[in-house]
Symmetry: C2
Subunit: 240 residues, 2 copies
Amino acid sequence: MPDRSSSAANRSTARRTPLSVDVVPLTPHGRQLTTLLVRAADPRSRQRWELPWDAMRGDETLDDAAARLVRAALGTAPGLLEQIAAFGDRQRHPADAMVSVAYLALVAEGTAVPIGGDAAWFPVDELPPISPRQRAMVDGAMRAVRMRLDQSPIAFSLLPQTFTLSQLQEVYELLLGRRLHKASFRRALHASWLVEPTDEWRSEGRGRPAQLFRYAPRKRRGGRRGVRFEGLGVAAAERS
Amino acid sequence: MPDRSSSAANRSTARRTPLSVDVVPLTPHGRQLTTLLVRAADPRSRQRWELPWDAMRGDETLDDAAARLVRAALGTAPGLLEQIAAFGDRQRHPADAMVSVAYLALVAEGTAVPIGGDAAWFPVDELPPISPRQRAMVDGAMRAVRMRLDQSPIAFSLLPQTFTLSQLQEVYELLLGRRLHKASFRRALHASWLVEPTDEWRSEGRGRPAQLFRYAPRKRRGGRRGVRFEGLGVAAAERS
DNA sequence: TGACATTAGTCACAATCCGTGACTAATTCG
DNA sequence: CGAATTAGTCACGGATTGTGACTAATGTCA
Protein backbone atom coordinates (compact mmCIF):
# COMPACT_ATOMS: atom_id res chain seq x y z
CA MET A 1 0.00 0.00 0.00
CA PRO A 2 1.17 3.56 -0.49
CA ASP A 3 3.24 4.59 2.45
CA ARG A 4 2.42 7.93 3.99
CA SER A 5 5.20 9.97 2.44
CA SER A 6 4.48 9.94 -1.26
CA SER A 7 1.27 9.01 -2.95
CA ALA A 8 -1.06 9.76 -0.11
CA ALA A 9 0.36 13.25 -0.12
CA ASN A 10 -0.23 13.42 -3.85
CA ARG A 11 -3.82 12.45 -3.38
CA SER A 12 -4.47 14.90 -0.63
CA THR A 13 -3.28 17.69 -2.91
CA ALA A 14 -5.97 16.49 -5.33
CA ARG A 15 -3.48 15.49 -8.03
CA ARG A 16 -4.99 12.61 -9.94
CA THR A 17 -2.51 9.78 -10.34
CA PRO A 18 -2.47 8.87 -14.01
CA LEU A 19 -1.12 5.37 -13.42
CA SER A 20 -1.20 3.07 -10.41
CA VAL A 21 0.37 -0.28 -9.70
CA ASP A 22 -1.78 -2.67 -7.64
CA VAL A 23 -0.95 -6.06 -6.17
CA VAL A 24 -3.26 -8.99 -5.48
CA PRO A 25 -1.46 -11.13 -2.84
CA LEU A 26 -2.83 -14.66 -2.67
CA THR A 27 -2.18 -17.37 -0.14
CA PRO A 28 -4.06 -20.49 0.88
CA HIS A 29 -5.55 -20.34 4.34
CA GLY A 30 -6.93 -23.66 5.35
CA ARG A 31 -9.31 -24.72 2.62
CA GLN A 32 -9.76 -21.24 1.18
CA LEU A 33 -7.74 -18.94 -0.99
CA THR A 34 -7.28 -15.56 0.65
CA THR A 35 -6.09 -12.15 -0.48
CA LEU A 36 -4.49 -9.41 1.55
CA LEU A 37 -6.33 -6.13 2.02
CA VAL A 38 -5.00 -3.10 3.87
CA ARG A 39 -6.63 -0.08 5.43
CA ALA A 40 -6.85 2.91 3.10
CA ALA A 41 -3.91 5.25 3.60
CA ASP A 42 -6.07 8.26 2.86
CA PRO A 43 -6.93 9.65 6.32
CA ARG A 44 -10.44 10.56 5.12
CA SER A 45 -11.42 6.95 4.46
CA ARG A 46 -9.34 4.89 6.84
CA GLN A 47 -12.16 2.45 7.45
CA ARG A 48 -12.13 1.25 3.84
CA TRP A 49 -10.19 -1.79 2.71
CA GLU A 50 -8.10 -1.84 -0.44
CA LEU A 51 -5.47 -3.86 -2.25
CA PRO A 52 -1.92 -2.57 -1.79
CA TRP A 53 -1.25 0.03 -4.47
CA ASP A 54 0.89 3.03 -5.26
CA ALA A 55 2.04 5.23 -8.09
CA MET A 56 5.32 4.52 -9.81
CA ARG A 57 8.29 6.39 -8.42
CA GLY A 58 11.29 7.96 -10.08
CA ASP A 59 12.52 5.77 -12.85
CA GLU A 60 11.16 2.55 -11.38
CA THR A 61 9.91 -0.10 -13.76
CA LEU A 62 6.48 -1.65 -13.32
CA ASP A 63 8.04 -4.81 -11.91
CA ASP A 64 10.13 -2.76 -9.48
CA ALA A 65 7.07 -1.00 -8.18
CA ALA A 66 5.16 -4.25 -7.74
CA ALA A 67 8.08 -5.79 -5.85
CA ARG A 68 8.30 -2.76 -3.61
CA LEU A 69 4.60 -2.94 -2.84
CA VAL A 70 4.82 -6.59 -1.87
CA ARG A 71 7.83 -5.98 0.31
CA ALA A 72 6.04 -3.15 2.07
CA ALA A 73 2.86 -5.12 2.62
CA LEU A 74 4.24 -8.54 3.45
CA GLY A 75 7.77 -7.88 4.58
CA THR A 76 8.92 -10.77 2.44
CA ALA A 77 9.46 -11.69 -1.20
CA PRO A 78 6.63 -13.62 -2.87
CA GLY A 79 7.07 -17.06 -4.37
CA LEU A 80 5.86 -15.70 -7.69
CA LEU A 81 5.16 -12.16 -8.85
CA GLU A 82 3.56 -11.81 -12.25
CA GLN A 83 1.69 -9.12 -14.09
CA ILE A 84 -2.00 -9.86 -14.68
CA ALA A 85 -3.24 -7.03 -16.85
CA ALA A 86 -3.76 -3.31 -17.15
CA PHE A 87 -7.19 -2.02 -16.14
CA GLY A 88 -8.21 1.07 -18.04
CA ASP A 89 -11.97 1.28 -17.98
CA ARG A 90 -13.89 3.87 -16.01
CA GLN A 91 -14.42 1.83 -12.86
CA ARG A 92 -13.62 3.53 -9.62
CA HIS A 93 -10.20 3.00 -8.08
CA PRO A 94 -8.73 4.33 -4.81
CA ALA A 95 -6.30 6.49 -6.76
CA ASP A 96 -8.83 7.43 -9.43
CA ALA A 97 -6.06 6.32 -11.74
CA MET A 98 -6.74 6.39 -15.45
CA VAL A 99 -4.92 3.09 -15.81
CA SER A 100 -3.96 0.55 -13.15
CA VAL A 101 -1.52 -2.29 -13.75
CA ALA A 102 -2.35 -5.29 -11.56
CA TYR A 103 0.13 -7.86 -10.32
CA LEU A 104 -0.42 -11.28 -8.83
CA ALA A 105 1.72 -12.22 -5.82
CA LEU A 106 1.68 -15.82 -4.63
CA VAL A 107 2.84 -16.56 -1.11
CA ALA A 108 3.26 -19.86 0.69
CA GLU A 109 0.78 -20.54 3.44
CA GLY A 110 1.85 -19.10 6.77
CA THR A 111 5.01 -17.42 5.49
CA ALA A 112 3.79 -13.86 5.59
CA VAL A 113 2.15 -12.45 8.67
CA PRO A 114 0.75 -8.95 8.28
CA ILE A 115 1.77 -6.66 11.07
CA GLY A 116 -0.87 -5.00 13.20
CA GLY A 117 -4.54 -4.44 12.41
CA ASP A 118 -3.94 -2.44 9.24
CA ALA A 119 -3.90 -5.54 7.06
CA ALA A 120 -5.78 -8.81 6.99
CA TRP A 121 -6.31 -11.86 4.82
CA PHE A 122 -9.83 -12.30 3.44
CA PRO A 123 -11.23 -15.34 1.61
CA VAL A 124 -11.56 -14.31 -2.02
CA ASP A 125 -15.25 -15.15 -2.10
CA GLU A 126 -16.07 -13.21 1.05
CA LEU A 127 -14.37 -9.89 0.43
CA PRO A 128 -15.51 -6.74 2.19
CA PRO A 129 -16.57 -3.89 -0.11
CA ILE A 130 -13.65 -2.61 -2.18
CA SER A 131 -13.45 -0.37 -5.21
CA PRO A 132 -14.93 -1.91 -8.38
CA ARG A 133 -11.65 -1.86 -10.26
CA GLN A 134 -9.81 -3.66 -7.48
CA ARG A 135 -12.68 -6.12 -7.28
CA ALA A 136 -12.12 -6.81 -10.99
CA MET A 137 -8.41 -7.28 -10.28
CA VAL A 138 -9.12 -10.00 -7.74
CA ASP A 139 -11.39 -11.75 -10.22
CA GLY A 140 -8.74 -11.36 -12.90
CA ALA A 141 -6.13 -12.77 -10.57
CA MET A 142 -8.24 -15.85 -9.93
CA ARG A 143 -8.82 -16.36 -13.65
CA ALA A 144 -5.11 -15.90 -14.34
CA VAL A 145 -4.19 -18.42 -11.66
CA ARG A 146 -6.56 -21.02 -13.05
CA MET A 147 -5.46 -20.43 -16.62
CA ARG A 148 -1.74 -20.60 -15.88
CA LEU A 149 -2.02 -23.52 -13.50
CA ASP A 150 -0.78 -25.98 -16.08
CA GLN A 151 1.71 -23.60 -17.69
CA SER A 152 3.47 -22.14 -14.70
CA PRO A 153 4.53 -23.82 -11.42
CA ILE A 154 1.92 -21.83 -9.55
CA ALA A 155 0.94 -24.50 -7.07
CA PHE A 156 4.51 -24.82 -5.81
CA SER A 157 4.66 -21.09 -5.09
CA LEU A 158 1.80 -21.56 -2.64
CA LEU A 159 3.65 -24.27 -0.70
CA PRO A 160 6.76 -24.31 1.49
CA GLN A 161 10.06 -25.67 0.11
CA THR A 162 9.13 -29.19 1.10
CA PHE A 163 5.60 -30.53 1.20
CA THR A 164 3.64 -33.73 1.18
CA LEU A 165 1.86 -34.94 -1.92
CA SER A 166 -1.44 -34.58 -0.10
CA GLN A 167 -0.66 -30.91 0.48
CA LEU A 168 0.14 -30.47 -3.18
CA GLN A 169 -3.09 -32.16 -4.18
CA GLU A 170 -5.05 -29.95 -1.80
CA VAL A 171 -3.62 -26.85 -3.46
CA TYR A 172 -4.65 -28.12 -6.86
CA GLU A 173 -8.12 -28.90 -5.58
CA LEU A 174 -8.33 -25.45 -4.07
CA LEU A 175 -7.35 -23.74 -7.30
CA LEU A 176 -9.45 -25.93 -9.55
CA GLY A 177 -12.43 -25.94 -7.25
CA ARG A 178 -12.98 -29.69 -7.52
CA ARG A 179 -11.79 -32.93 -6.01
CA LEU A 180 -9.12 -35.02 -7.68
CA HIS A 181 -8.56 -38.74 -7.44
CA LYS A 182 -5.48 -39.58 -5.43
CA ALA A 183 -4.11 -42.33 -7.64
CA SER A 184 -4.58 -40.38 -10.87
CA PHE A 185 -3.00 -37.28 -9.41
CA ARG A 186 0.09 -39.12 -8.30
CA ARG A 187 0.42 -41.12 -11.49
CA ALA A 188 0.38 -37.92 -13.56
CA LEU A 189 2.74 -36.19 -11.15
CA HIS A 190 5.30 -38.97 -11.27
CA ALA A 191 5.14 -39.06 -15.06
CA SER A 192 5.91 -35.34 -15.17
CA TRP A 193 9.18 -35.45 -13.21
CA LEU A 194 8.33 -32.26 -11.37
CA VAL A 195 9.10 -33.33 -7.82
CA GLU A 196 11.69 -35.43 -6.08
CA PRO A 197 11.42 -37.10 -2.68
CA THR A 198 13.49 -35.99 0.27
CA ASP A 199 14.38 -38.46 3.02
CA GLU A 200 12.24 -36.67 5.54
CA TRP A 201 8.84 -37.81 6.71
CA ARG A 202 6.22 -35.81 8.50
CA SER A 203 3.70 -37.25 10.90
CA GLU A 204 0.78 -34.87 10.83
CA GLY A 205 -1.22 -35.93 13.89
CA ARG A 206 -3.02 -39.16 13.27
CA GLY A 207 -2.52 -41.47 10.34
CA ARG A 208 0.52 -42.77 8.53
CA PRO A 209 3.38 -40.26 8.15
CA ALA A 210 3.84 -38.76 4.69
CA GLN A 211 7.06 -38.42 2.76
CA LEU A 212 8.20 -34.88 2.01
CA PHE A 213 8.91 -33.82 -1.57
CA ARG A 214 10.52 -30.80 -3.14
CA TYR A 215 9.91 -29.07 -6.44
CA ALA A 216 12.70 -30.16 -8.77
CA PRO A 217 11.66 -30.23 -12.43
CA ARG A 218 13.70 -32.56 -14.64
CA LYS A 219 14.01 -32.80 -18.34
CA ARG A 220 11.14 -34.79 -19.70
CA ARG A 221 11.26 -36.65 -22.93
CA GLY A 222 8.25 -37.56 -24.94
CA GLY A 223 6.77 -36.46 -28.24
CA ARG A 224 4.42 -33.52 -28.42
CA ARG A 225 0.77 -34.42 -28.19
CA GLY A 226 -1.96 -33.37 -30.54
CA VAL A 227 -4.27 -30.41 -30.12
CA ARG A 228 -6.72 -30.18 -27.26
CA PHE A 229 -9.94 -28.36 -28.01
CA GLU A 230 -11.28 -28.96 -24.52
CA GLY A 231 -10.75 -25.44 -23.23
CA LEU A 232 -12.80 -24.02 -26.06
CA GLY A 233 -16.49 -24.13 -26.62
CA VAL A 234 -19.32 -23.92 -24.17
CA ALA A 235 -19.16 -26.21 -21.18
CA ALA A 236 -22.38 -28.03 -20.46
CA ALA A 237 -24.03 -27.79 -17.08
CA GLU A 238 -21.73 -29.01 -14.35
CA ARG A 239 -22.89 -32.16 -12.67
CA SER A 240 -22.51 -32.23 -8.96
CA MET B 1 -0.82 4.46 -36.00
CA PRO B 2 -1.14 7.91 -34.47
CA ASP B 3 -2.86 10.07 -37.00
CA ARG B 4 -1.23 13.34 -37.84
CA SER B 5 -3.46 15.61 -35.83
CA SER B 6 -2.88 14.64 -32.25
CA SER B 7 -0.05 12.57 -30.92
CA ALA B 8 2.46 13.46 -33.56
CA ALA B 9 1.90 17.05 -32.64
CA ASN B 10 2.38 16.17 -29.00
CA ARG B 11 5.61 14.49 -29.75
CA SER B 12 6.95 17.28 -31.90
CA THR B 13 6.40 19.65 -29.01
CA ALA B 14 8.66 17.32 -27.00
CA ARG B 15 5.99 16.37 -24.46
CA ARG B 16 6.71 12.89 -23.22
CA THR B 17 3.62 10.70 -23.37
CA PRO B 18 3.33 8.96 -20.00
CA LEU B 19 1.20 6.12 -21.37
CA SER B 20 0.83 4.66 -24.84
CA VAL B 21 -1.45 2.04 -26.30
CA ASP B 22 0.15 -0.19 -28.93
CA VAL B 23 -1.39 -2.81 -31.18
CA VAL B 24 0.19 -5.95 -32.63
CA PRO B 25 -1.96 -6.89 -35.65
CA LEU B 26 -1.46 -10.48 -36.73
CA THR B 27 -2.64 -12.26 -39.82
CA PRO B 28 -1.51 -15.40 -41.63
CA HIS B 29 0.09 -14.77 -44.97
CA GLY B 30 0.68 -17.99 -46.82
CA ARG B 31 2.67 -20.19 -44.47
CA GLN B 32 3.87 -17.38 -42.25
CA LEU B 33 2.36 -15.27 -39.53
CA THR B 34 2.76 -11.58 -40.29
CA THR B 35 2.37 -8.36 -38.34
CA LEU B 36 1.49 -4.90 -39.59
CA LEU B 37 4.07 -2.13 -39.30
CA VAL B 38 3.51 1.48 -40.30
CA ARG B 39 5.86 4.33 -41.11
CA ALA B 40 6.68 6.52 -38.16
CA ALA B 41 4.37 9.52 -38.00
CA ASP B 42 7.13 11.68 -36.60
CA PRO B 43 8.40 13.62 -39.63
CA ARG B 44 11.98 13.38 -38.34
CA SER B 45 12.08 9.60 -38.60
CA ARG B 46 9.67 8.71 -41.34
CA GLN B 47 11.85 5.93 -42.60
CA ARG B 48 11.44 3.92 -39.41
CA TRP B 49 8.82 1.22 -38.99
CA GLU B 50 6.69 0.89 -35.88
CA LEU B 51 3.63 -0.85 -34.56
CA PRO B 52 0.49 1.32 -34.59
CA TRP B 53 0.36 3.27 -31.33
CA ASP B 54 -1.05 6.39 -29.78
CA ALA B 55 -1.76 8.03 -26.46
CA MET B 56 -5.17 7.71 -24.86
CA ARG B 57 -7.57 10.51 -25.66
CA GLY B 58 -10.19 12.27 -23.59
CA ASP B 59 -11.97 9.78 -21.41
CA GLU B 60 -11.34 6.80 -23.66
CA THR B 61 -10.82 3.43 -22.04
CA LEU B 62 -7.83 1.30 -22.96
CA ASP B 63 -10.04 -0.97 -25.06
CA ASP B 64 -11.51 2.05 -26.85
CA ALA B 65 -8.08 3.33 -27.75
CA ALA B 66 -6.98 -0.07 -29.05
CA ALA B 67 -10.11 -0.39 -31.17
CA ARG B 68 -9.56 3.08 -32.58
CA LEU B 69 -5.98 2.23 -33.48
CA VAL B 70 -7.01 -0.90 -35.31
CA ARG B 71 -9.72 0.91 -37.19
CA ALA B 72 -7.27 3.59 -38.24
CA ALA B 73 -4.61 1.14 -39.35
CA LEU B 74 -6.72 -1.56 -40.98
CA GLY B 75 -9.98 0.17 -41.80
CA THR B 76 -11.83 -2.82 -40.41
CA ALA B 77 -12.67 -4.46 -37.09
CA PRO B 78 -10.40 -7.33 -36.03
CA GLY B 79 -11.70 -10.84 -35.40
CA LEU B 80 -10.33 -10.64 -31.90
CA LEU B 81 -8.83 -7.78 -29.92
CA GLU B 82 -7.31 -8.65 -26.58
CA GLN B 83 -4.91 -7.02 -24.18
CA ILE B 84 -1.53 -8.73 -23.91
CA ALA B 85 0.26 -6.90 -21.13
CA ALA B 86 1.64 -3.59 -19.93
CA PHE B 87 5.29 -2.94 -20.71
CA GLY B 88 6.94 -0.73 -18.15
CA ASP B 89 10.65 -1.39 -18.25
CA ARG B 90 13.17 1.09 -19.57
CA GLN B 91 13.32 -0.18 -23.14
CA ARG B 92 13.04 2.43 -25.84
CA HIS B 93 9.64 3.09 -27.37
CA PRO B 94 8.62 5.50 -30.17
CA ALA B 95 6.68 7.61 -27.67
CA ASP B 96 9.27 7.24 -24.94
CA ALA B 97 6.26 6.28 -22.87
CA MET B 98 6.83 5.27 -19.28
CA VAL B 99 4.30 2.48 -19.71
CA SER B 100 2.85 0.98 -22.88
CA VAL B 101 -0.19 -1.27 -22.93
CA ALA B 102 -0.02 -3.74 -25.80
CA TYR B 103 -2.99 -5.29 -27.57
CA LEU B 104 -3.21 -8.25 -29.87
CA ALA B 105 -5.41 -7.89 -32.96
CA LEU B 106 -6.18 -10.99 -35.00
CA VAL B 107 -7.36 -10.55 -38.56
CA ALA B 108 -8.48 -13.11 -41.10
CA GLU B 109 -6.14 -13.66 -43.99
CA GLY B 110 -6.73 -11.29 -46.85
CA THR B 111 -9.45 -9.25 -45.14
CA ALA B 112 -7.44 -6.17 -44.38
CA VAL B 113 -5.41 -4.47 -47.06
CA PRO B 114 -3.23 -1.64 -45.82
CA ILE B 115 -3.64 1.46 -47.92
CA GLY B 116 -0.64 2.92 -49.67
CA GLY B 117 3.03 2.43 -48.90
CA ASP B 118 2.82 3.66 -45.32
CA ALA B 119 1.99 0.22 -43.96
CA ALA B 120 3.08 -3.31 -44.75
CA TRP B 121 2.80 -6.84 -43.39
CA PHE B 122 6.08 -8.42 -42.26
CA PRO B 123 6.67 -12.04 -41.27
CA VAL B 124 7.10 -12.04 -37.50
CA ASP B 125 10.49 -13.71 -37.73
CA GLU B 126 11.85 -11.30 -40.34
CA LEU B 127 10.95 -7.95 -38.88
CA PRO B 128 12.85 -4.81 -39.85
CA PRO B 129 14.47 -2.95 -36.94
CA ILE B 130 11.85 -1.57 -34.56
CA SER B 131 12.09 -0.15 -31.07
CA PRO B 132 13.08 -2.71 -28.40
CA ARG B 133 9.84 -2.36 -26.48
CA GLN B 134 7.74 -2.95 -29.57
CA ARG B 135 9.95 -5.87 -30.44
CA ALA B 136 9.13 -7.31 -27.01
CA MET B 137 5.45 -6.73 -27.70
CA VAL B 138 5.57 -8.81 -30.85
CA ASP B 139 7.29 -11.61 -28.94
CA GLY B 140 4.73 -11.28 -26.17
CA ALA B 141 1.93 -11.43 -28.71
CA MET B 142 3.28 -14.66 -30.13
CA ARG B 143 3.61 -16.18 -26.67
CA ALA B 144 0.10 -15.07 -25.78
CA VAL B 145 -1.31 -16.54 -28.97
CA ARG B 146 0.33 -19.88 -28.32
CA MET B 147 -0.70 -19.95 -24.66
CA ARG B 148 -4.33 -19.06 -25.33
CA LEU B 149 -4.68 -21.27 -28.37
CA ASP B 150 -6.55 -23.91 -26.43
CA GLN B 151 -8.46 -21.48 -24.22
CA SER B 152 -9.70 -18.96 -26.71
CA PRO B 153 -11.04 -19.47 -30.26
CA ILE B 154 -7.98 -17.78 -31.67
CA ALA B 155 -7.59 -19.92 -34.76
CA PHE B 156 -11.09 -19.06 -35.97
CA SER B 157 -10.32 -15.34 -35.75
CA LEU B 158 -7.58 -15.86 -38.31
CA LEU B 159 -9.94 -17.48 -40.80
CA PRO B 160 -12.90 -16.24 -42.86
CA GLN B 161 -16.47 -17.05 -41.76
CA THR B 162 -16.38 -20.34 -43.61
CA PHE B 163 -13.27 -22.42 -44.13
CA THR B 164 -12.13 -25.91 -44.93
CA LEU B 165 -10.81 -28.22 -42.26
CA SER B 166 -7.45 -28.24 -44.02
CA GLN B 167 -7.29 -24.47 -43.67
CA LEU B 168 -8.10 -24.76 -39.99
CA GLN B 169 -5.43 -27.37 -39.51
CA GLU B 170 -2.90 -25.18 -41.33
CA VAL B 171 -3.61 -22.32 -38.95
CA TYR B 172 -3.04 -24.60 -35.98
CA GLU B 173 0.18 -25.86 -37.50
CA LEU B 174 1.28 -22.29 -38.13
CA LEU B 175 0.62 -21.24 -34.56
CA LEU B 176 2.05 -24.35 -32.95
CA GLY B 177 5.03 -24.54 -35.29
CA ARG B 178 4.66 -28.27 -35.92
CA ARG B 179 2.77 -30.66 -38.13
CA LEU B 180 -0.38 -32.38 -36.96
CA HIS B 181 -1.81 -35.68 -38.09
CA LYS B 182 -4.95 -35.21 -40.17
CA ALA B 183 -7.03 -38.01 -38.68
CA SER B 184 -6.21 -37.09 -35.07
CA PHE B 185 -6.93 -33.44 -35.68
CA ARG B 186 -10.34 -34.12 -37.16
CA ARG B 187 -11.28 -36.68 -34.57
CA ALA B 188 -10.54 -34.22 -31.76
CA LEU B 189 -12.31 -31.43 -33.60
CA HIS B 190 -15.47 -33.43 -34.11
CA ALA B 191 -15.48 -34.48 -30.47
CA SER B 192 -15.33 -30.84 -29.42
CA TRP B 193 -18.48 -29.69 -31.26
CA LEU B 194 -16.78 -26.44 -32.30
CA VAL B 195 -17.67 -26.40 -35.98
CA GLU B 196 -20.62 -27.33 -38.11
CA PRO B 197 -20.62 -28.13 -41.83
CA THR B 198 -22.26 -25.86 -44.37
CA ASP B 199 -23.60 -27.32 -47.62
CA GLU B 200 -21.00 -25.53 -49.68
CA TRP B 201 -17.94 -27.14 -51.17
CA ARG B 202 -14.86 -25.48 -52.48
CA SER B 203 -12.65 -26.88 -55.20
CA GLU B 204 -9.27 -25.34 -54.66
CA GLY B 205 -7.52 -26.07 -57.94
CA ARG B 206 -6.50 -29.70 -58.10
CA GLY B 207 -7.67 -32.46 -55.81
CA ARG B 208 -11.00 -33.38 -54.32
CA PRO B 209 -13.19 -30.41 -53.28
CA ALA B 210 -13.42 -29.72 -49.56
CA GLN B 211 -16.53 -29.09 -47.53
CA LEU B 212 -16.81 -25.67 -45.90
CA PHE B 213 -17.38 -25.38 -42.17
CA ARG B 214 -18.27 -22.53 -39.87
CA TYR B 215 -17.37 -21.86 -36.26
CA ALA B 216 -20.44 -22.77 -34.18
CA PRO B 217 -19.56 -23.98 -30.70
CA ARG B 218 -22.18 -26.19 -29.07
CA LYS B 219 -22.64 -27.24 -25.50
CA ARG B 220 -20.42 -30.13 -24.77
CA ARG B 221 -21.08 -32.65 -22.06
CA GLY B 222 -18.43 -34.71 -20.45
CA GLY B 223 -16.85 -34.94 -17.03
CA ARG B 224 -13.87 -32.81 -16.15
CA ARG B 225 -10.53 -34.49 -16.70
CA GLY B 226 -7.69 -34.75 -14.24
CA VAL B 227 -4.72 -32.45 -14.00
CA ARG B 228 -2.21 -32.12 -16.80
CA PHE B 229 1.34 -31.40 -15.75
CA GLU B 230 2.58 -31.42 -19.30
CA GLY B 231 2.96 -27.67 -19.68
CA LEU B 232 5.24 -27.52 -16.66
CA GLY B 233 8.79 -28.66 -16.31
CA VAL B 234 11.65 -28.54 -18.73
CA ALA B 235 11.02 -29.92 -22.17
CA ALA B 236 13.73 -32.23 -23.42
CA ALA B 237 15.48 -31.55 -26.71
CA GLU B 238 13.03 -31.48 -29.58
CA ARG B 239 13.45 -34.27 -32.03
CA SER B 240 13.24 -33.28 -35.66
C1' DT C 1 -9.92 -41.07 -72.90
C1' DG C 2 -7.43 -42.97 -69.35
C1' DA C 3 -3.39 -43.17 -66.19
C1' DC C 4 -1.58 -40.28 -62.61
C1' DA C 5 -0.97 -36.67 -59.30
C1' DT C 6 -3.26 -34.24 -55.74
C1' DT C 7 -6.16 -33.10 -52.07
C1' DA C 8 -10.21 -34.56 -48.95
C1' DG C 9 -12.02 -37.56 -45.87
C1' DT C 10 -12.52 -42.11 -43.17
C1' DC C 11 -11.31 -46.36 -40.85
C1' DA C 12 -9.36 -49.60 -37.81
C1' DC C 13 -5.60 -51.28 -34.97
C1' DA C 14 -2.40 -50.93 -31.31
C1' DA C 15 -0.54 -48.44 -27.74
C1' DT C 16 -1.13 -45.44 -24.27
C1' DC C 17 -3.68 -42.90 -20.99
C1' DC C 18 -6.83 -42.40 -17.26
C1' DG C 19 -10.96 -42.99 -13.90
C1' DT C 20 -11.84 -45.91 -10.40
C1' DG C 21 -12.31 -49.09 -6.47
C1' DA C 22 -9.86 -51.97 -3.70
C1' DC C 23 -6.06 -52.99 -1.50
C1' DT C 24 -1.77 -52.58 1.93
C1' DA C 25 1.06 -49.63 5.31
C1' DA C 26 1.93 -46.86 9.28
C1' DT C 27 0.49 -44.19 12.67
C1' DT C 28 -2.77 -42.16 16.86
C1' DC C 29 -6.46 -42.74 20.01
C1' DG C 30 -9.08 -45.07 23.49
C1' DC D 1 -5.49 -54.69 21.09
C1' DG D 2 -8.88 -52.84 17.64
C1' DA D 3 -10.96 -48.93 15.37
C1' DA D 4 -10.06 -44.77 13.00
C1' DT D 5 -7.25 -42.11 10.06
C1' DT D 6 -4.09 -40.81 6.62
C1' DA D 7 -0.44 -42.38 3.07
C1' DG D 8 0.64 -44.88 -0.73
C1' DT D 9 0.10 -48.60 -4.49
C1' DC D 10 -2.02 -51.74 -7.75
C1' DA D 11 -4.61 -53.46 -11.41
C1' DC D 12 -8.75 -53.63 -14.37
C1' DG D 13 -11.47 -51.80 -18.00
C1' DG D 14 -12.87 -48.23 -20.74
C1' DA D 15 -11.56 -43.98 -23.25
C1' DT D 16 -8.23 -41.50 -25.84
C1' DT D 17 -4.92 -41.01 -29.42
C1' DG D 18 -0.85 -41.77 -32.83
C1' DT D 19 -0.55 -43.88 -37.05
C1' DG D 20 -0.70 -46.01 -41.67
C1' DA D 21 -3.64 -47.47 -45.00
C1' DC D 22 -7.52 -46.99 -47.28
C1' DT D 23 -11.46 -44.76 -50.39
C1' DA D 24 -13.30 -40.51 -52.88
C1' DA D 25 -13.34 -36.71 -56.05
C1' DT D 26 -11.18 -33.67 -58.69
C1' DG D 27 -7.51 -31.62 -62.29
C1' DT D 28 -3.56 -32.56 -65.54
C1' DC D 29 -1.39 -34.31 -69.29
C1' DA D 30 -0.04 -37.60 -72.56
